[in-house]
């Protein structure tokens, strides 16, 4: 790979500058006009990108390393630039006869050529070259320490050895890949995104981009990762506690808004499963930031007794475009049409199978019965839950005209139990609430707002999914919803 060089833009002379390449029919077509131009003006410089002998005349300057083209933002060839007093005055791209005549002052220039011919892509924006050029000429924006991998070393093994991996292979974060990743956001590479627990390491946009590369993200996922990192590292969400706990929980990312569809997230069949790149890598990138920037690793600060598969990364999209009861982000104050991500401290998923209920009351009771057992049937109020309602279950509620509030209210009606059934020793089970609750006539499973609905899944199946939570509110973690910042 090419080492990053910090170069000032190479200067161009005053007068006319034309950038061409042989591998472009429009450039070949304009050679006759260039010959004519050079004969009539003495200040014409032709720059060639791919062949030092093209054109034969006027003699070109060969932009072999594409530094001129890169620094002067050439996107199309031919490009005609007018310069004066060391600065660009105007430019035109492709062949537009009238424009060329106006800019050069040669009123009959190219009279025998067509009126207009579109140009070709500049070699400096060739998809095969652009990442290397960005690294070569733009690498100075990267502040991370450079780590050399010796010839004989396998880079994947190298990264495992250094403890940078979550147990799965990670994509090597080269300068090219990280710079390409940074194209996914408008934020500056050196912006501090958050201070990452447990070591309280500051994460710059660059460090998050490195993690996103390693996780396998595409650049367009980066704003989601950045937003998730910000949301995770708040006092409300309490990433430190989530990491340190013995419970099997991790950050669950619930994404919604048109941007989920733009980046190809899955909110349909197998939304909570494998096989979709965005779903699989965005949550993983957050966890790699926590691991590598924050120093949060299992067996160290991460004291989980069992953990859960979701701790590699747990991220999915709500199908908010088709949801009959809106989206979770709206419940948390996000306006329609705004991309948003909710972070929830959650364990794995558990399925509610009810293939018989066709009446909403029956289905609500069914869901409540399943929710009551979450974490422990006798423990209440201390844990929130996300209920991921599948389309065929949602239809039962939608056909009855139930909205979000009605569904939550109906389920909650069946989520209360008398204290006498919940106290320690009740039912022959030592676990339970302190004896002081024994006289309470009716205690709810969830605190207000602690049962959150989302809509995802697809295809056949009268199923919904419960994602159980961790210790909630001030004591533990509050769900945090943020609008995605690009």
């Amino acid at each position: 790979m090419t080492a990053a060089v910090s170069t000032d833009p190479p200067a161009l002379p005053d007068g006319l500058v034309v950038v061409v390449k042989r591998d472009c029919e429009t450039c070949q077509m304009v050679v006759s006009a260039l010959v004519d131009l050079a004969a009539r003006r003495s200040d014409v410089l032709v720059i060639t990108q791919d062949d030092p002998l093209f054109p034969n005349s006027p003699t070109p300057v060969f932009d072999e390393d594409l530094a001129l083209s890169w620094h002067h933002d050439i996107e199309t060839v031919p490009t005609l630039i007018v310069r004066d007093e060391g600065a660009e005055v105007e430019r035109t791209v492709g062949w537009q006869r009238a424009e060329w005549q106006r800019l050069t002052g040669v009123t009959d220039l190219g009279a025998d050529l067509p009126v207009m011919r579109p140009g070709c892509g500049s070699k400096s924006v060739d998809p095969h070259l652009v990442d290397a050029l960005r690294a070569r000429f733009g690498g100075s924006v990267l502040a991370a320490r450079r780590v050399e991998v010796a010839d004989a070393e396998d880079e994947i093994e190298f990264m495992f050895t250094r403890g940078w991996s979550d147990g799965l292979p990670v994509v090597p974060p080269t300068e090219e890949r990280v710079l390409a990743m940074l194209e996914g956001t408008h934020r500056a590479a050196d912006d501090i995104v958050a201070v990452i627990p447990p070591d309280l390491g500051p994460a710059t946009v660059e460090k998050v981009a490195i993690a996103a590369v390693m996780a396998g993200c595409r650049p367009e996922y980066l704003p989601w990762v950045l937003t998730a990192v910000e949301a995770a590292c708040t006092d409300e969400f309490n990433m430190h506690g989530l990491l340190a706990t013995t419970m099997p929980v991790g950050p669950v990312l619930i994404c919604s808004g048109p941007g989920t569809r733009a980046i190809g997230m899955n909110s349909g069949g197998n939304a909570l499963g494998q096989g979709n790149r965005a779903n699989s890598t965005i949550g993983r990138a957050l966890q790699l930031v926590v691991r590598n920037v924050g120093g949060g690793r299992p067996g160290e600060i991460d004291r989980a007794t069992h953990g859960s598969p979701g701790k590699v990364g747990f991220c999915f999209a709500e199908n908010d475009a088709e949801s009959p009861f809106g989206r979770l982000a709206a419940e948390h104050g996000i306006d329609d049409g705004v991309d948003a991500v909710t972070l929830f401290a959650g364990e794995g998923t558990r399925c509610i199978v009810d293939q018989i209920s066709r009446h909403p009351e029956s289905l609500a009771k069914s869901m409540a019965a399943s929710l009551l057992t979450m974490l422990h049937p006798k423990l209440i109020m201390a844990f929130d839950a996300v209920l991921v309602i599948g389309p065929e279950h949602a239809r039962v509620f939608a056909e009855a005209g139930w909205d979000r509030a009605a569904i939550v209210a109906a389920i909650s009606e069946h989520l209360t139990r008398p204290g006498s059934e919940l106290v320690r020793g009740a039912g022959g089970i030592e676990e339970g609430l302190p004896e002081a609750f024994a006289e309470a006539p009716s205690l709810p499973k969830f605190r207000d707002g602690g049962l959150m609905l989302t809509y995802a899944g697809g295809g056949a199946g009268l199923f919904s999914e419960i994602i159980g939570g961790w210790v909630n509110d001030e004591v533990g973690s509050k769900p945090v919803t943020r609008a995605v910042t690009y």
Partner: protein, 92 residues
């Protein structure tokens, strides 16, 4: 040709501090007992306090607002200036 990767870590060097020597006796020393707010942590700490006092220590009790978050900086400072020794208890 060697390949170059970007360091994904915080690149911080860990500050290492030598531990203080253990005192040969707690007699006359102030011992802070930090309850992290886990259930029944107080039972454990009550017993520790009793034993420490028997050995001539004076005991100060502290409590974190929640076990799930690091102790606030003010609380850590308070313990550091008021005590020579500290015991942090985790219990369930």
């Amino acid at each position: 040709m060697a390949r170059t990767l970007l360091d994904p870590t915080s690149e911080r060097t860990v500050a290492e501090r030598a531990r203080l020597r253990r005192p040969s006796s707690v007699d006359g020393l102030t011992v802070g007992l930090l309850d992290i707010s886990k259930p029944r942590g107080d039972v454990f700490l009550d017993r520790l306090e009793q034993r420490l006092v028997e050995h001539g220590a004076s005991v100060k009790r502290y409590r974190k607002p929640t076990f799930s978050k690091p102790a606030p900086a003010d609380l850590r400072h308070e313990i550091a200036v008021e005590c020579q020794l500290v015991i942090e208890a985790l219990a369930d």
